[in-house]
Amino acid sequence: MLLNLNRLGWWKLVLFGITVLTTAFLLLPILFIAALSFGSSQWLIFPPPSWTLRWYQELFADPRWLASAWTSFQIAIIVTVLSVLLGLATSFGLTRGRFAFREGLKALFLTPMILPVVVLAVALYAFFLKIGLNGTLTGFVISHLVLALPFSILSIGNALEGFDKSIEDAAVLCGASPLEAKVRVTLPAISHGIFSAAIFSFLTSWDEVVVAIFMSSPTLQTLPVKVWATLRQDLTPVVAAASTLLILLTVLLMVLVAVVRKGLKS
C-alpha cells in the first residue's frame, strides 16, 4: 500500500510536499541567476531595481571571454571525436574479447571516473611540466580525454552488450565483409550509445574545471577557468550573464537529446 498512490492517504501530501520543495530547491538557483543577469545592480540585489543588458554587453566586449569560450569549444570537440573513436574500439574489444585480464582491464578503464579529479589534475600537472605539455591545447585534450573516455566506454559498451551479434554474423554470411557488416549493421544499431558517448564526452570536457585550472596558462585558458578566476576576485554580474548562457546551452543539449532519442526509437 505504500507504493500505491491511492492508498497512501495523507502521507501522499507529505511526500509530494517534500518533492515540490526539493524540486524548487534544485530549480530556483538556476532561475535566480538567469534573472540576475538582466538586473541592473552591480551588487546583485534581488529583486533588481531595473533591467539591463549591460552585463551581456560587457561579456561580449571582452575578447578574453570569447577567446576562452572558443578554446573550450575546440578542446571539447576534439575530445568528443577522439573519445567516441577510442570508446568504439575499446568497447568492441572488451565486449567481444575472451582474453585474460579482461575484467581487470575494464576496471582500469573506468577508474578515472571514480578517482578524485584533483589527484589526476595534480599528477598530470607535474607530468606535463616535465614533458612540456602544460598550457598547450594537446595537454588539455589529453587530460580531458582521460576523464571522458570512461563515459564513452560505458555508453557504447552497454549498447553493444544489448546488441545481438548474430545479426552482424548474418550480414557476413550474406556476403558483407566483416568491416562492412560492422559499419552498416552494428553501428546503426548501437547509434544511441554512440550518441550518449558523444554528449557525455562533450559535457565532461566543456564543463571540466579542476584539471583545467592546473593546465591553463596566461595565454590559454578554457571558459570554466575564466569563470573560476573571475569568481576568485569578485561576484560580478558578468559571471551571471556567462552562467545564463551556459544554462541555455544545457537546456538546448537536453532538448537535442530528447529529440534524438525519440528519433532513434521510432
Binding site: R96, F99, L115, V119, L203, I213, R232, A240, M254
Partner: protein
C-alpha cells in the same frame, strides 16, 4: 561466398592477406593512453611523497601528526558526512514520491533533476555564493519573516559548503534510490498490509529494509565524491575552512611542496579506493559514477 573463420579465442583472421585486429589489440590505443597519462603520472606523484625532500615517511608523519592538517581532515569528513545524511533524508522521500507519481508529473521532476545535474558546476556554485551572501536573498527572506534580526553568516564557512554540496549531490542519491524503489513489487507491501501491518510498520519493516541496498550504495557514492570535491568547497568555504582536495592543490600550486602534495593525494586515494572496495564487495558494480 567468402570463407570466414573465427575461433572462440576471439582471434579472428580475414580469409586472405590482412590479419584482422584481435579484440585485445582493439583496446590497445586506450590502454596506452591510460597508462601513459593516468597510471604513470599518478604513480610518480605518489612516489614523490616518499622521496621528496628526503627519502622516508617524513611527509606522512607531518601530515597525520599536525593539528592544522587534522582540522582539514575533520572538516572534510564532517562536511561529507553531513552532505550524505542530509541528501539521504531529503532524497528518500523524493525517490519514493517519484516511484508512485503519475508519469507526467514524474517526468517534470526528472527533467528538473537532469537540468540541475547538467548545468555547469561553476554556474551552480556561483548561484549559491550570491544567494547565501550577507545581503543575499536567503538572509533577506529570513529577516523579512522576522526569524532573525541580523544576517546569518552563511558563506565562507562550512554551512555554505554543506548547502552547496547537498545541492549538487541530491540528484546522485535520488536517481539510484528511485531505481531501487521502483523495482520493489507493490504486492509485497500489499501483503504486509493484509497481514495487519499499519503504515509505519510497513515503512520501517518492509519498505526501508528493501531500499537499504540502494540507500547504502547512493550514500557511499555521495560520501566518496564529497571527500574529493574541490571547486565548491574552495568557493563557498573560504580560505579558513579548507577541505582535503584544496589542501592538495595548495601544496602543489602555492607551496610547490610535491612531497606533501603527494602524501595528501595518497591519503585521499586510499580512503576513496577503500570505500569503493566496500561498495563493490557488498553492493556489486552497478550504480557507480554517473555524472
Amino acid at each position: 561466398m567468402v570463407s570466414h573463420t573465427e575461433t572462440d579465442s576471439g582471434r579472428a583472421y580475414a580469409p586472405t592477406r590482412v590479419r584482422r585486429l584481435t579484440d585485445f589489440e582493439l583496446t590497445l590505443p586506450a590502454l596506452v593512453l591510460l597508462v601513459l597519462f593516468f597510471v604513470v603520472p599518478v604513480v610518480i606523484l605518489l612516489m614523490r611523497s616518499v622521496t621528496e625532500p628526503v627519502p622516508g615517511l617524513g611527509n606522512y608523519v607531518e601530515l597525520l601528526g599536525s593539528s592544522t592538517y587534522l582540522r582539514i581532515f575533520t572538516n572534510t569528513f564532517l562536511v561529507s558526512g553531513l552532505v550524505t545524511v542530509v541528501s539521504l533524508l531529503i532524497g528518500f522521500p523524493v525517490a519514493w514520491a517519484l516511484a508512485v507519481m503519475p508519469g507526467r508529473a514524474a517526468s517534470i521532476v526528472f527533467a528538473i533533476l537532469l537540468l540541475s545535474m547538467w548545468t555547469n558546476l561553476l554556474a551552480r556554485t556561483y548561484a549559491w555564493m550570491v544567494l547565501l551572501q550577507r545581503t543575499g536573498v536567503i538572509n533577506k527572506v529570513l529577516i523579512g519573516l522576522g526569524l532573525i534580526d541580523k544576517p546569518l553568516p552563511l558563506v565562507n564557512n562550512l554551512t555554505g559548503v554543506t548547502i552547496g554540496m547537498t545541492y549538487i549531490m541530491l540528484p546522485f542519491i535520488i536517481l539510484p534510490l528511485y531505481g531501487v524503489i521502483k523495482k520493489i513489487d507493490p504486492a509485497i507491501l500489499q501483503a504486509a498490509a493484509l497481514c495487519g501491518a499499519n503504515r509505519w510498520q510497513s515503512l520501517v519493516r518492509v519498505l526501508l529494509p528493501l531500499a537499504v541496498p540502494g540507500m547504502a550504495a547512493g550514500a557511499l557514492m555521495v560520501f566518496v565524491m564529497s571527500l574529493g570535491y574541490f571547486v565548491t568547497p574552495a568557493l563557498l568555504g573560504g580560505t579558513a575552512n579548507m577541505m582535503l582536495a584544496e589542501l592538495i592543490a595548495q601544496f602543489v600550486q602555492s607551496l610547490v611542496n610535491w612531497g606533501m602534495g603527494g602524501a595528501a593525494a595518497l591519503v585521499l586515494l586510499v580512503v576513496t579506493l577503500a570505500l569503493y572496495a566496500v561498495q563493490l564487495r557488498f553492493f556489486g558494480t552497478d550504480r557507480m559514477g554517473g555524472r
